[in-house]
Symmetry: C2
Subunit: 342 residues, 2 copies
DNA sequence: TATTTTTGCTAAATCGATTTAGTAAAAAAT
DNA sequence: ATTTTTTACTAAATCGATTTAGCAAAAATA
């Protein structure tokens, strides 16, 4: 059962492939094809169950209607949800998404970018791993549109969509202060990334504004490729001695850290929020059924996904046109649950 | 900066495109290209930073090195992890994955299948929504390899990879019985799907083998498109009256149900496992930091991902050859945590 | 020396679709 | 009656790569 091609329709009707193409692509009026022929083309196309070959279309037109999405790990619920929003928005416009998980590894993301370029993707949506400046800079010099999400690279002028991390962390920390917490810790990732730095800066500024001196020993910086043991180490440094808890609250800079940390806190026999209050960036189902439902800073994932697609589509539809880069900063949502001791 | 094509290399060296293609595709020996020319081709290719256009390759060869993956929802951690394993295994073989979330909607999955066929995917990996028999049957008649995962359709002879759901549910229920639980409920999805039916059958058989009569009122069947309110209704029917709890344990047939149910149980002020023990299909990070870490039936996601790709690659490498369909049933892992009252 | 085989390449076709460049015939304008 | 414009299509080129079909010249064999 060979799949019907456009040529089969033309042969069947004794007309040119050109004519069939014009009809099927809504150009009949423009090229003055008669109504009669149009109808016969549509009929035969339907009879043969014709559907276009997007690979052939892509080769000829230079548009594959495919976007490459590079995120840290699709299995991470934060990125899973983000990916879902992007997938949905893309589908609304007839675009496919190829998902690549970089594991926060720049070598891996560079390979993925190369592979996606070979696949002639129309654009990229990238959550850049640390130390990926060079490959993003190269991308920015090329013709393919792209937009950074979740984090950006200050020294590169390109599209990005981020949230106001400073303000979010400031708000969260101030909230903990308002609940009487004074020894507030922050567990975060390598501060070379702007979004992580902003989160920690906001936390510190809230402490300073409350005339509390920032204790650098309460700021635990994990390597980017952090695992359970890294988080456990940080928690043990803060809370290992239950007669001398170093902190009475913790702000987690990511939900991945938060989940691992809470598991660790529970196994230490500590109670949330009685012994230690917690607040975390990014909402996730896990936080709702937690030992103590977690107070979170939620990101507008739907808006991020929609905005990313809008930016790309706008550039894709005007190839070669130099468009002003869009830098979008969105608001977070502070959701108070039990874990902060409210 | 126009991207270098294979023709550019040929022009630069004054040789044919054919020769360049042979060299770059490892066919130099076969077509007796001299060592000297080979080296010069490789040098120029490197100098021009040539990389192949996979769209052109796909059009000519009929292989796009792309697999279409259709699952319920990439934002669901179970499917997120499964997708991750598949993505990883595919990348190992140089394949891209296009992810589509069907939302358990057969109309949507039919559209996704059509779109992916237009994109000339080399194969499909599909977690079929309910009522998608017709589209799977049509796929089975076509030339493109595919494999069903997570659930299968008994009346269609095609590749599938599933776990032994009957045995898993039987074991879990027996475990609860061994802990003294007698009024064991099961919250599941529409039983028209074989995997859901097997889970409930295993649960029932364990009760019968313990000489406990199956109480159909303890089996709550949710619609496929279940939401929080559906789960809340079921939980309220079972546990709404805390002086007359209808169940002392619940087996959740999916983690999605489990998470929503636990949230509901907590808001009723009930304690897990003191008031109500719980066991759930499918491990997820959320269950580790739960009010009471959840006892789970874990699926071998890595093995599923690898097996799915193996099955597809085996068929892809011998097009047109009628291969015996592979029906794989894998073992689950029972992980005991606190929620069952152990 | 004549014939056959091997060597080391080449041009052209192919994939399926879209775009470009064109034109015979009919209709309208002069 | 002649010239110009419009109509309703067409053939061929194009996209970038791979495959198919082929062949002149050199080397080997008879």
């Amino acid at each position: 059962m060979k799949k019907a091609s456009l040529s089969d329709i033309a042969l069947r009707l004794g007309v040119s492939k050109t004519l069939v193409s014009f009809v099927l692509n809504g150009k009949a009026k423009e090229y003055r094809i008669s109504e009669d022929i149009c109808q016969r083309v549509m009929d035969v196309a339907k009879e043969l169950n014709y559907s276009p070959n997007r690979i052939a279309q892509g080769l000829r037109t230079g548009n594959t209607k495919t976007i490459g999405l590079i995120i840290a790990d699709i299995a991470n619920p934060f990125f899973g949800k983000l990916g879902r929003e992007i997938e949905q928005e893309a589908a609304r416009h007839g675009y496919n998404i190829i998902f690549c998980s970089s594991d926060e590894n720049p070598e891996k993301s560079a390979q993925q970018i190369a592979m996606l370029q070979q696949s002639q993707v129309d654009g990229f949506i990238i959550s850049p791993p640390i130390n990926s400046e060079e490959q993003i800079r190269t991308l920015a010099k090329g013709p393919i549109p792209f937009v950074l999400i979740d984090r950006f690279i200050p020294e590169i002028d390109c599209n990005h969509i981020v949230v106001d991390n400073f303000d979010a962390a400031y708000t969260a920390t101030k909230h903990l202060l308002s609940l009487g917490r004074r020894q507030i810790a922050n567990i975060t990732l390598n501060l070379d990334l702007a979004n992580m730095k902003d989160r920690t800066d906001g936390y510190k500024q809230a402490l300073r504004d409350a005339s509390i001196e920032v204790d650098e020993n309460l700021v635990k910086v994990l390597p980017f490729s952090h695992e359970n043991k890294d988080v456990a180490l940080a928690i043990n440094e803060l809370l290992g001695n239950r007669d001398d808890l170093k902190a009475d609250a913790i702000l987690f800079s990511t939900s991945k850290i938060g989940i691992m940390a809470i598991e660790c806190i529970s196994s230490l026999g500590l109670k949330i929020p009685d012994d230690i209050a917690v607040v975390s960036f990014d909402n996730t189902d896990a936080y709702k059924i937690c030992v103590s439902p977690v107070t979170v800073i939620g990101q507008p994932l739907k808006e991020i996904g929609k905005t990313a697609m809008d930016i790309l589509l706008n550039e894709i539809k005007q190839p070669g046109v130099k468009v002003k880069t869009q830098k979008v900063t969105l608001k977070t949502e502070f959701i108070v649950r039990k874990s902060c001791g409210a």
